[in-house]
Amino acid sequence: MPPRVVVTGIGIISSIGQNIPETLQSLKSSKSGIGPITNLNTIHKGTIPVAEIKLSDEELAELAGFTDKDYLTRTSLLGIIAAKEAFNSAGLEIESTYQGVKTGIVSATTVGGMDKTENYYYDFLSNNKYTHYVYTHDCGHSTEKIAELFGIKDYMTTVSTACSSSANAIMFATRLIKNGIVDRVIAGGTDALSKFTLNGFNTLKILDSNPCQPFDNNRMGLNLGEGAGYLILESEEIARKNKSKILCEVSGYANTNDAYHQTASSPDGFGAYLAMKQAIEISGIHAEDIDYINAHGTGTDNNDLTEGIAIEKIFAPAVPKVSSTKPFTGHTLAAAGSIEAIFSVLAIANRMVFPNLNFKEKIGELSFEPVRNLIENIEINHALSNSFGFGGNDTSLILSKY
């Protein structure tokens, strides 16, 4: 009988807070992190809003406990900060052996070290001033840095599947525990803002020049964000043995592929529908047991309509409370899955549903509208979190009260 997998720690950093308490406070007070670009050195300053963390790389390094001589990318620093909080919140201590508990890390990123590579690329081609950053470019690097910090050697890997990356990291970590490969995993993802991604998304013409409006009939696109989120996942047995505080359970998960187009979703949201349906099947609950959906809800024309159609196909007429929290944090790309899974954990633990900011008018083709205002004192037994990425990579996670 595979073990149940529970969440015993969470850590986060994004434009709405440097840690869980700050983040929760922002979520409760509708404080968005979207605004003008200040850090990133780009021609799009002043025209494209983003959800930037208002700390320079040096300030992030200090917060993480490092210096610039450690040659850490912004992506790595964000990851370290969030991972440290998750680790501490689970009551773990950094030690070289984990008292017989096989511990691993599954992280996710799309940007990797590109935030540094794009600044020093001409130097890479012509001189040796910044060769350290040649070695920090690949996706595995930030994972390795976090693993080193915590002395994790038993298992590590990195997933990179665009916007569903860290949701996939959480799913893979859960399966590693269920299959007995490891007993505990620090799972999540990290992405820093970079010119590469900003310009890339800009060429796709899916950025909103104002704060995004998920599920609104007049939505104009998404806002990019940056951040990191990590969860400590453990087998139920280990968690109980160590008397860890159990925040909730990862009860369902599924990854499917829309198989329609590289960047657009199929008109009926087939991949999304399959992901949610299969996650519900894995969890052993029924659709009507889902109390809250933290939607992918980027604010693009295509995603919100197709995700909405898929939600209706499964849940209508009793569509549960739905909100996208991307008007708070922006679209944090590889970190979105884990950041938003953490929001589902917070919803369960604090008995609340966070609002879908900037919403005014329902999408014509859909029957439901998202949650407009914060709801408190509400029992959330099961929360569904969606992350749908480029390449039709669709992942749904179900977090359940333990």
């Binding site: 690329y121 040649v134 990195t158 480029f390 039709g392």
Partner: protein, 352 residues
């Protein structure tokens, strides 16, 4: 956890995309880096799609097509890939265009194709495959991560067919940058340091496998186990881990008929030589990187090699490190690889 290899598709610096041949002709190591012998892609991909695909995307999609045909499977139940650096050419194209044109007039195609899971996604679109689709991107254990996931998938869903791949490309620009940064200098513990060539030869390749739990006469071999570890303290730890890994598969070093080592030249280094001498004196000692070069997913090439050796019960002369009598029949092959003593990997393949 184990699985049969039902089909293979391999594009590499050797003429390997035709499954009916097996290293009949050896293409010498090229400098500064080895590049793939590529098939005529028009035979595998429709022109309307081919026209804007970058090189590694063509390689990956074609290798997967060859593999699926070889396995007699039209629709796999999962697509799981490993790549160390992803789609380099497209990444470089978008990045240099962005830098050279001050972020103006940028082309979306190369950005879209720079996403690491593009190959897996493209295969899914072509096959209309709505199933599980993952890409692992973690240095030289990317392919090993994909193997582990594939084996777990089969444990969870024993009736599945899993499409597993390992791929990486080398470009002129990437070589230039990494060479300047000292990436290809041989490490201190390389035996050959100071003798002849001091540079590692990079390579590239795209190798795909269909895995299944169903026995069949046409199966190549079995993946019987995979293990990775990070920065071991010393050679003793490596030796302990290898022994433990084999034990967990109910084997010992005496059961390993052939050891396939990821050393970068015929001289090896302290670690490869230590492992070879202390554990595998009785095994047929072989190496493979002179055939494919050094790259993050080179163990996918090594797996192709091992699977063919086990199926054909033939060891190509070119991979043998010394004259040794062949053990009949060959039952177990262990692939052992490391790069700069950071990530180490073990892949166990067994005869069907």
């Amino acid at each position: 956890m184990e699985a049969y290899i039902k089909g293979i598709g391999n594009i590499s610096p050797q003429r390997t995309f035709d499954n009916s041949t097996f290293l009949e002709e050896i293409i010498e190591s090229a400098r500064p880096f080895m590049t793939c012998i590529e098939p005529n892609y028009k035979e595998f991909i429709e022109p309307i799609q081919l026209r804007r695909m970058g090189r590694i995307l063509k390689m990956g999609v074609t290798a997967s097509r060859i593999c699926l045909k070889d396995a007699g499977i039209e629709l796999p139940d999962a697509i799981i890939a490993g790549t160390g650096l992803g789609l380099l050419q497209d990444t470089e194209k978008f990045l240099t265009s962005m830098l050279n044109n001050d972020e103006k007039f940028l082309n979306p195609t190369s950005f879209i194709q720079s996403t690491h899971n593009t190959v897996g996604a493209h295969i899914a679109v072509m096959l209309k495959c709505n199933k599980y689709n993952y890409t692992f991107v973690h240095s030289n254990i990317s392919f090993e991560s994909a193997i582990l996931d594939s084996l777990m998938q089969l444990k969870e869903n024993p009736d599945s067919n899993i499409l597993l791949g390992g791929l990486d490309e080398m470009t002129d620009q990437h070589y230039q940058i990494t060479e300047r940064a000292g990436f290809w200098e041989k490490s201190q513990n390389a035996i050959s340091k100071g003798k002849g060539h001091s540079k590692i030869i990079p390579g590239e390749g795209a190798s795909f496998f269909v895995l299944s739990k169903k026995q069949s006469k046409t199966n190549y071999a079995r993946f019987s186990g995979v293990n990775t570890f990070y920065k071991p303290e010393n050679t003793n730890e490596i030796i302990n881990r290898i022994n433990k890994f084999l034990e967990s598969n109910n084997l010992s070093v005496n059961d390993i008929d052939l050891i396939l080592l990821g050393q970068q030249d015929q001289f090896g280094d302290e670690i490869f030589n230590g492992v070879r001498e202390k554990l595998f004196q009785e095994s047929i000692q072989t190496w493979y990187k002179h055939l494919c070069g050094e790259y993050n997913t080179s163990t996918a090439f090594a797996s192709w090699l091992a699977a063919n050796i086990l199926k054909r019960q033939v060891i190509p002369e070119i991979i043998k490190m010394k004259k040794q009598n062949k053990k009949i029949p060959l039952k177990n092959i262990l692939i052992y690889n490391h790069f700069r003593n950071i990530y180490h990997s073990l892949i166990l393949l067994s005869a069907c």
